[in-house]
Amino acid sequence: MSDITQSGPVLAADGTPLKRSLSRALRMQKLRALMLIAPLLLFILVTFILPVGDMLFRSVENGIVRDTLPRTVEALADWDPASGELPEEAVFAAMAADLQIAAEEKTHTKVAKRLNYENPGVSSVFRKSGRKVSKWDLATDGPFREKLIDIDKGWGDIELWRTIKTYSGQITSGYFLNAVDMQLGAEGPEIRPENERIYNTMLIRTMRMSLIITFSCILLGYPVAWILANLPARKANLLLILVLLPFWTSLLVRTSAWKILLQQQGVINDTLVWIGLVDDANRLVLINNELGTIIAMTHILLPFMILPMYSVMQTINPSYLRAAKSLGATDWTAFWRVYFPQTVPGIGAGSILVFILAVGYYITPALVGGTKGTFISNLIAYHISTSGNWGLGAALGAILLAVVLLLYWVYDKVVGIDNVKLG
């Protein structure tokens, strides 16, 4: 044991430092491990991380105004929107020049669409002018201020120019502000007028309903998991198949089945009317509202709650309950003070799983949610596939991601993430 008496690093038998020897010996192992996960890593990188990164970038990216109207942006630099006056002739001339090029390249409609998100009505001004401006001779046809206003009165509106100036930057906070029901006004960010607000309500509704769904899953799943964990293995496996059965059916089929069950002329209402619990004239509204979404999603997400709870409960030795009872605890005290605390990690794992899945759920709220029971993800889908406002969709998605991460962090602080067990 001469190494111990030596000062300095411990040496291997051949005199190289032991640390280097060790890392060399482990290098091959690490390399092999890396090779094994490389295909998946690559796949995730290409199909997940890059697109997500791209979307996050789109939520702030705003090059289109500057790229399409470079001269106008430059000329507008000296103009102060607060002055209450229209920009000078030079700005209009620059706009005419930009529009000519843009119309030729057919990009003027794109910039029009972009500006229309911020100031509805801009689109038609640009479309109308694009065709006519391309016939002008820039050198001789000036001054352009009156000519442009002649084509469309919109050019005489200070708001239009303010919008162009506000959104002339390379990156913008506009999408994010829009996503939280705000806009860039004359004096910086401001809250939108009440009739234009929608996203905050949606976000809060999404969170609230996801919480309700998570709690319903806990309430319904806990006894099931308990029974599963306390049955003999053969019976438990049989019941477990029933729990997993929904996974073998298409999500769409299950959701459609709920439509049949829940609608006003559906099975449940018919049965209730037949029994006489509900009057035929006042059939219950169980679908196309929040209730419908909560019922259908609780059913769909229930296995994700049951499975982690079951696997945690399985590891709890029944002698804990017996010990508690032998020490004088009633059945309830034994459960509440001894059994339940030990199942909290399972509840935690199930809750995180269900909540995060619920917050981003799309198909079910779209099918059974009506207008009152849709989630923020339905709006995101609308902006990505219908309105084409990808920037706003991306901003909403980024906010959703941030909220989930924040909740995850809070959860870690309160419950402790190492308390979460999947089995």
């Binding site: 030795n317 017996r322 032998s326």
Partner: protein, 374 residues
């Protein structure tokens, strides 16, 4: 026994009984009896061990006493009251489990405080009792730790302290030392016995380790096949087993098979299967011609001719193996066709060390050789 002028009680002998099993039967599936007609009476303050192979019904008996299993038939009484219909938490019986069952989400002090809390005891009283219980098992400094931070032996002590902290009169222990290594187990055996005697509590202890049963108990009940085969103090159990199961199960034992020739008082003559005759003490044989198993303890076999009693039958034996074990010598012999006949001799200066292949004659006192059921 004092007669109070009352009509003679049917169970007058059980007047001081603390724990009683009367004709208790238990079946889980309605077809097989796990416990068959169990009768047991324990006085207050006794340390009784239920010993038996796995599946012999001993743990089931303990669980019925604790209230976690219900008896299919019969009556279990505690201090004279039938407890068949009393739920476990009202029985006031302390229990130590095989895996200790310390609540992992509570500290040691909280674990000990739990039985006092559910009894609605005040905070200061609780703290004092917890402290006293921890000191009793010499774990005073560990109150703030979690069970997972303790070693197996320490957890064992805490489990013991928790079962005693609410001062039950009866404590049940279900193989509490099973998970400990040998040295620690032996140490804990003494600690538990001393503690039990000092506190004057009644203990029912379940184990499959016969050494544990013999060293710890006032009485041992040997279980097999759902019945108590014999219940007796350790020395009686070892020296006077009443049937061949007990003889085989407790300690090391030599068995020779034969037929009973005749019985004269407390002497029986047995003809072994190879024709040789030996003298025995009849225990549960009665008629000549009956098959019997003769049991002799290895340390009661004598091969030194000078020490053999005159007139007793001796047997020829061949030495097969000599094993030096330090404090004793263990010699394997072939006797009457049995290759597994063991004798144990003390390692003393005058002791002869037998050599393999040597032909010797062995004998024993007739009292040490018990003719049991076949």
């Amino acid at each position: 026994m004092t007669n109070y002028g009352e009509p003679a009680l049917a169970d007058a002998s059980n007047v001081d009984a603390f724990v009683e099993f009367e004709r208790v039967q238990k079946s889980y599936d309605g077809e097989n009896l796990v416990v068959k007609d169990l009768n047991l009476t324990m006085p207050k303050g006794e340390f009784l061990t239920m010993l038996g192979p796995s599946g012999s019904g001993k743990t089931t008996c303990l669980m019925m006493l604790a209230g976690f299993e219900t008896a299919t038939h019969g009556d279990i009484r505690l201090d004279g009251t039938s407890i068949n219909n009393i739920p476990p938490h009202k029985r006031g019986i302390g229990m130590v489990f095989q895996n200790y069952a310390l609540f992992p989400h509570m500290t040691i002090a909280e674990n000990l405080s739990f039985p006092l809390e559910v009894r609605k005891m005040g905070k200061s009283e609780r703290e004092e009792k917890v402290k006293r219980a921890l000191d009793m098992v010499e774990m005073g400094a560990f109150g703030g730790r979690r069970p997972a931070q303790l070693s197996g032996g320490q957890q064992q002590r805490i489990a013991l302290a928790r079962a005693l902290v609410f001062e039950p009169e009866l404590v049940l222990m279900d193989e509490p030392l099973g998970a400990l290594d040998k040295q620690l187990r032996e140490k804990m055996q003494f600690e538990i016995t001393h503690l039990a005697h000092r506190l004057g509590i009644t203990v029912v202890y379940v184990t499959h380790d016969q050494t544990e049963a013999l060293t710890m108990s006032d009485r041992v009940a040997v279980f097999d096949d759902g019945r108590i085969q014999q219940i007796a103090p350790p020395d009686q159990l070892y020296e006077s087993p009443e049937n061949s199961f007990v003889a085989q199960f407790i300690g090391e034992n030599n068995t020779l098979e034969g037929t009973l020739k005749e019985i004269k008082g407390d002497r029986a003559l047995v003809q072994l299967d190879d024709g040789e005759l030996i003298d025995c003490k009849p225990v549960n044989v009665s008629k000549p011609g009956e098959r019997t198993r003769v049991s002799i303890r290895p340390e009661r076999v004598e091969y030194n001719k000078n020490r053999l009693q005159a007139g007793v039958h001796t047997l020829k034996a061949e030495v097969l193996e000599f094993i030096y074990m330090g404090d004793i010598f263990r010699t394997r012999l072939r006797v009457a066709g049995n290759d597994e006949f063991i004798i144990k001799t003390r390692n003393a200066p005058d002791q002869v060390r037998l050599q393999p292949g040597q032909q010797i004659e062995i004998g024993w006192l007739p009292d040490d050789c018990r003719a049991l059921d076949a």
